[in-house]
């Protein structure tokens, strides 16, 4: 099959309010995000013939996308629920692009949300997360989610001399960007020392190395590049996308320091015909700070082992060489669970449209979004542009 390059575009993108949103249920967050994205695109709900959602922790329903379609009273010809989050959430755009390119449907609404604070008590959310790991060969050892990532951080430290202060620089950059984003959940600037002095959760990860627990929803509307020209919004084209999948359980990982982000990135860059130097802004999955460092290496922004040094001295902050997570990321903007990477996509769209005000990357033409799910298990990279390059 021909490459998906330049075949599809995002014509609508929106977030709901995020953070702690007690007045909206999970289902309402999905539908509100959908409504806002439709308004952004200038479409009505009846223009949608493809619908994709992710599952919800707060309101788990087996046929989730079908339920959202029913709630909205739309009757799509293509309807699918993404079964998990992280890389899967972003990879679903790969599927949507294929569905549009092959004529399975014309206009896809992807809406993702959850209510991890208000719809689910904090302890229940953590208990839900305790379901992570192999039931016989991992859970008996009591690893909370941060412990899985601490294993990666420690291995990277050991192999390459990466430091706690370098990981903290990731959290500081995200918070700096969140401080410039009125929508972000955590907006008070922090320093490297604040991160290092925050409570130890799972050595070597501190509280501020860990992402947030949030409510919120985000939605996008995708259609063919041809149709996209008729919309009121400036189309954001998909230039490349690629996936990489290496394991489910961390004990089965091929490597603790190199991830399948390498394959995902290589595939996306190959489709786009671009290289890391062509990227103006990157929205990288940041559930924990060491993940960003590994992704920067595996995606080719720096050599393997140099990620720690790469994030120092403001290089990933606005005004730096490669601004990362300009909305604040999962570390400071919001992290409602499965929808996480969808907020990276909506931010990439806003950056490429030039709508970001004080946090706008000047002349941003090409944005990269990367997401990973599981424990560095499943990866997707997508490259977008305001132009068909």
């Amino acid at each position: 099959m021909d490459s998906l390059k330049n075949k599809v575009a995002i014509v609508g993108a929106a977030d709901t309010e995020v953070g702690i949103v007690p007045h909206l249920s999970a289902t309402q967050l999905y539908v509100k995000a959908a409504k806002l994205a439709l308004d952004d695109a200038g479409l009505t709900k009846n223009d949608i013939d493809g619908l994709i959602t992710c599952v919800s922790f707060a309101e788990p329903i087996m046929y989730h996308a079908e339920m959202i379609a029913e709630y909205m009273q739309i009757f799509p010809r293509y309807c699918m629920t993404a079964p998990s989050g992280g890389g899967t959430t972003l990879a679903i755009m790969h599927h949507a692009a294929s569905a549009i390119a092959t004529g399975m449907c014309h206009t896809v609404l992807i809406t993702m949300a959850d209510s991890q604070v208000s719809g689910l008590s904090r302890d229940k959310a953590i208990e839900a997360m305790a379901g992570a790991g192999h039931p016989q060969f991992e859970r008996p050892y009591g690893p909370p989610i941060p412990a899985f990532y601490a294993l990666l951080a420690r291995a990277h430290e050991h192999a390459y001399g990466t430091t706690a202060a370098q990981r903290a620089a990731v959290a500081v950059a995200c918070r700096k960007h969140a401080s410039m984003n009125p929508a972000a959940q955590m907006r008070k600037p922090i320093t490297v020392d604040d991160v290092l002095n925050s409570r130890m959760i799972a050595d070597p990860l501190h509280l501020l190395d860990c992402s947030l627990v949030s409510d919120g929803g985000a939605a996008i509307i995708m259609t063919s590049a041809e149709r996209a020209r008729d919309f009121k919004t400036k189309p954001v084209y998909m230039l490349g996308t690629g996936e990489g999948h290496s394991h489910e359980h961390i004990g089965q990982a091929r490597s603790l320091t190199t991830s399948a982000a390498k394959e995902a990135g290589e595939r996306a860059f190959a489709m786009a015909g671009l290289a890391p130097k062509d990227i103006d802004v990157a929205e990288l999955y940041d559930c924990f700070t060491p993940v960003v460092i590994i992704e920067l290496e595996d995606l080719g922004f720096c050599p393997k082992g140099e990620g720690g040094r790469f994030v120092e001295n403001g290089r990933i902050e606005l005004g730096g060489e490669l601004p990362v997570n300009t909305h604040g990321g999962l570390l400071s903007h919001c992290h409602p669970g499965h929808p996480g990477s969808m907020f990276s996509v909506t931010e990439a769209v806003r950056q490429l449209r030039g709508e970001c005000g004080p946090r706008q990357v000047p002349d941003a033409k090409v944005a990269l979004v990367h997401a990973q799910g599981g424990i560095m298990s499943t990866h997707c990279t997508s490259i977008f542009s305001s132009e068909q390059i």
Binding site: A130, Q136, F137, E138, A150, L151, M200, I250, Q252, L256
Partner: protein, 136 residues
């Protein structure tokens, strides 16, 4: 050994039963492929290297080294609260495969990547014993 009734006991399956039967006898059992001599953990129907069905159970040496580790300061559930701080580690068995475990028998701060280990078992019930590792 004090009973740890609050922790959820793993439930052996048809495929994993020989592993858990081994743990009950305080033996660490993994699979070896009779066709290509590849060792694997966790147990599977076929060899992950050559996909032969000639996988056999053997008793591992119980020797391993630390691949990576973390000291958990906030428990995954309240059932693990009394264990704090505890070490969750990935270890590389002498035979090659890696597995998750806890490292016990030394202060958490003494654990280091590459540290040699020996398997030890914690009896959680009459049926279930959990393989952990201590410094060799």
């Amino acid at each position: 050994m004090a009973p740890q009734i609050a922790k959820t006991l793993p439930i052996p399956t048809l495929e994993t039963r020989p592993y858990w039967d081994g743990c009950k006898r305080h033996e660490l059992r993994i699979q070896r492929c009779a066709a290509c001599s590849h060792f694997q953990f966790y147990p599977r129907l076929y060899c992950t290297e050559c996909f032969s069905d000639r996988v056999e159970w053997i008793t591992a040496s119980g020797r391993a080294t630390v691949l990576s580790f973390t000291i958990v300061r906030r428990p995954v559930t309240q059932a693990f609260k009394d264990d704090l701080p505890y070490v969750v580690a990935l270890v590389t068995l002498e035979e090659g495969p890696s597995m998750m475990t806890n490292i016990v028998g030394c202060p958490p701060e003494q654990v280091a990547i590459g540290m040699p280990l020996k398997v030890t078992f914690e009896d959680w019930s009459d049926e279930i014993s959990i393989a952990k590792f201590r410094p060799a």
